[in-house]
């Protein structure tokens, strides 16, 4: 779950990390009011869950409240990569003498949390890693070991931070790690950390992504959730508790198990077709789940044919076939369907299928061949 910059900054302040003074606004009048309170130069920043706001014109520096109102009216409602801007953050403008990067994220191969510092702030960290890797330093820790300010100071020195800043930055870094651990984040990033003439360090931009699996530990976070940015079909899938990803093709795909569904989509592609979605009904799905999955796929107008690929283990083939039967009745499913069922209760499943117009296939490759032929117009 991605948070908006203004939400991320609220959390960072709780962990002792300073951020610019500012507030969030939803109308140009509010922008004007906040800019007036701040006095002086300000920044108006679109709050959208997407990178590259700046290049898209979603960030504007203004010299006075009137300019702020104009900027607000232009940015609010703006479309950035398909997302409509509903909120802007209005903050004091910081004059930086240097800009740094601080980030905490999960390192899969080290099986630990990695803490990243760079003397190149304000730039995409992947870009820095590619072009000037010597300007990045990393350390690893588990949540239990923690990350102490002295480690942060070493890391910052190593990454080329100015010596004068390391005493202060140590605590902020340690706070960022603590935030990461206590809030169950996947990513906590300050980019850039701006250092001012008088030696203050301020988180000028902040990004936090929370671990969806840990939201049960943070009941308050449900309030931070904003659905913008998701495909409407993916939103519908979430309501139905189905694991679904929208793709660009015309063949609806249903299977049990993520690896199997991915392989099925690959097989369709290998035969010259294109899947319309990824949809995993999981292990042990009952007929109602299969029915719901089919209903969801039919909401996608691009879908011209459907492939069901189930390897029965805990999942019973008869339940899958029943689900298809129900969907045919409930939503008038009249698109061509290819079904491949093997494993637990295979015979029973096939018997049910014989009552439907569905085409059956014996192997995954066979099923992919048939569905591509059908979607391509043949039979």
């Amino acid at each position: 779950m991605k948070l908006h910059e203004y939400q991320a900054k609220e959390i960072m302040r709780r962990y002792g990390i300073p951020t610019p003074r500012g507030k969030v606004a939803e109308t140009p009048d509010e922008v004007f009011k906040i800019a007036t309170e701040l006095g002086g130069r300000a920044v108006v920043k679109a709050q959208v869950h997407v990178g590259g706001r700046g290049k898209a014109g979603g960030i504007r520096v203004v010299n006075n409240p009137d300019e702020a109102r104009v900027a607000g009216s232009e940015i609010l409602g703006m479309d950035i990569k398909g997302l409509t801007v509903g909120k802007v953050l209005v903050e004091e403008a910081i004059e930086a003498v240097s800009e740094y990067y601080l980030g905490v994220t999960v390192d899969r191969s080290q099986k630990s949390v990695t803490i990243i510092a760079s003397s190149e702030g304000g730039i995409d960290i992947e870009e820095v890693a590619a072009k000037t890797p010597q300007k990045i330093s990393k350390m690893w820790s588990t949540p239990k070991e923690g990350f102490m300010p002295w480690q942060a100071r070493s890391l910052a020195l190593d990454a080329g931070f100015d010596e004068g800043t390391i005493a202060r930055v140590g605590g902020y870094f340690s706070g960022l790690f603590k935030l990461f651990e206590r809030e169950d984040a996947e990513l906590a990033e300050i980019n850039p950390l701006m250092v001012t003439k008088d030696g203050k360090a301020i988180a000028a931009d902040a990004k936090i992504t929370l671990d969806d699996n840990a939201l049960f530990r943070h009941p308050g976070y449900s309030d931070l959730w904003e659905e913008e940015g998701d495909d409407p079909l993916e939103q519908e899938a979430r309501k139905r508790k189905l694991t679904y990803v929208k793709l660009n093709g015309d063949i609806g795909v249903i299977g049990n198990g993520a690896g199997l569904v991915m392989a099925t989509i690959d097989a369709i592609k290998a035969e010259g077709g294109e899947a319309a979605n990824f949809l995993d009904i999981g292990g042990g799905a009952r007929a109602e789940v299969v029915q719901s999955a089919l209903e969801l796929i039919l909401m996608d107008e691009a879908v011209k044919a459907i492939l069901i690929n189930v390897f029965g283990g805990i999942t019973r083939c008869d339940e899958v076939a029943q689900g298809l039967l129900k969907a045919i009745e409930s939503v008038n499913l009249d698109l061509p369907v290819v079904v491949r069922l093997v494993g637990t209760k295979e015979a029973e499943g096939r018997a049910i299928l014989s009552e439907t117009p569905a085409v059956t296939a014996d192997t995954m490759v066979d099923a992919a061949k048939r569905i591509v032929a059908i979607a391509g117009g043949g039979i």
Binding site: V106, R108, S109, K111, S112, V113, E126, T142, P143, K144, E181, D184, E186, D211, N213, A214, F216, R217, T243, V245, L247, G255, N256, G257, A258, G259, L260, V261, M262, A263, I265, D266, A267, K269, A270, A275, F278, D280, G283, F311, G313, I314, V342, G343, T344, T363, M364, V365
Partner: protein, 290 residues
């Protein structure tokens, strides 16, 4: 015989009185009645699940039954605690079936395996389990599709593994041990760990590795295979997956330029490791190798 588990393994099932725990504990016992010795559900000590004794703590189970492995079916919020409890009780192998565990919990439980220089093992989380064919099954894999033989199977997936195993068995190619390492971003036992064990296992002559997008375990495996004496056949799923989307498994995601199928296929090819383009090709290549 095979790797990590065999007919002498003694398993305690944590969360045995839950729906899933009960169902799969009995299926594991069907596979080999000697292997499943105990269950644990706090507060339900003294009960039994069709004859399998239930204890309040893993320590009691270990003391009473000599269990040395554990299979975790408890809910995600309690899973890290269950793993820690196992290790504290002296368990050496934990197979964690539970899916959806917070990542930081996974890091803590996985790092616990190696504290104080100990060489204990977590398989998973989000693993379908492990089977050493004809000897022992821990987890949720359907025992009837497996057939004893010389091929080790490693996979990040469940049903796709069954698909491959079903194909191998139908072609007369049996398996030594099949391991689902789990579909999460952080897992306790990696491809490399399994490959190392298979390399040393006398019963294994060749290995099938079923990878997918996300992370760099396949790239690490490619490097490792360079120094192996036994042949490995690989397959990568998710070749057509779009970047930035989790494909069902929490770990199956292309982040930025990291974790693409191309990178993995290229790594294997560079190391001279055959990559099957379809499931069927896995069996074809394996037939030639054996």
């Amino acid at each position: 015989m095979g790797i990590f588990i065999d007919r002498r393994t003694k398993v305690v099932v944590q969360g045995i009185t839950g729906r899933e725990g009960r169902f799969h504990a009995l299926r594991m016992r069907d596979y080999n009645p000697d292997v499943v010795v105990a269950g644990v559900t706090p507060g339900k000590g003294g009960q039994d699940v069709e004859g399998i004794p239930v204890f309040n703590t893993v320590l009691e189970a270990v003391k009473e039954t000599g269990a040395n492995a554990s299979c975790i079916f408890v809910p995600a919020w309690a899973a890290a605690d269950a793993v820690m409890e196992s290790f504290a009780a002296g368990i050496e192998l934990v197979v964690c079936i539970t899916e959806g565990i917070p990542t930081l919990d996974v890091i803590n439980m996985v790092s616990q395996a190696n504290v104080d220089g100990l060489a204990r093992r977590v398989i998973g989380p989000n693993s379908p389990g492990i089977i050493t064919c004809g000897e022992a099954s821990i987890g949720i894999m359907p025992g009837q599709i497996f057939k004893p033989g010389p091929v080790g199977v490693i996979s990040r997936s469940g049903t796709l593994t069954y698909e491959v195993v079903g194909l191998l068995s139908s072609c007369g190619i049996g398996q030594s041990t099949c391991i689902g390492v789990g579909g999460d971003p952080i897992i306790g036992t990696t491809f490399v760990d399994c490959l190392g064990a298979f390399e040393k296992d006398d019963n294994t002559k060749a290995v099938v590795l079923i990878g997918e997008i996300g992370g760099s375990d396949e790239e690490d495996a490619a490097e490792f295979i360079r120094n192996m004496t036994k042949p490995v056949v690989t397959f990568i799923s998710g070749r057509t997956a779009p970047p930035g989307k989790r494909m069902g498994h929490a770990g199956a995601i292309v982040s930025g330029s990291m974790g693409t199928a191309e990178s993995k296929v290229k790594a294997f090819q560079k190391a001279g490791v055959p990559v099957a383009n379809t499931i069927n090709q896995i069996a074809d290549i394996m037939k030639e190798l054996l």
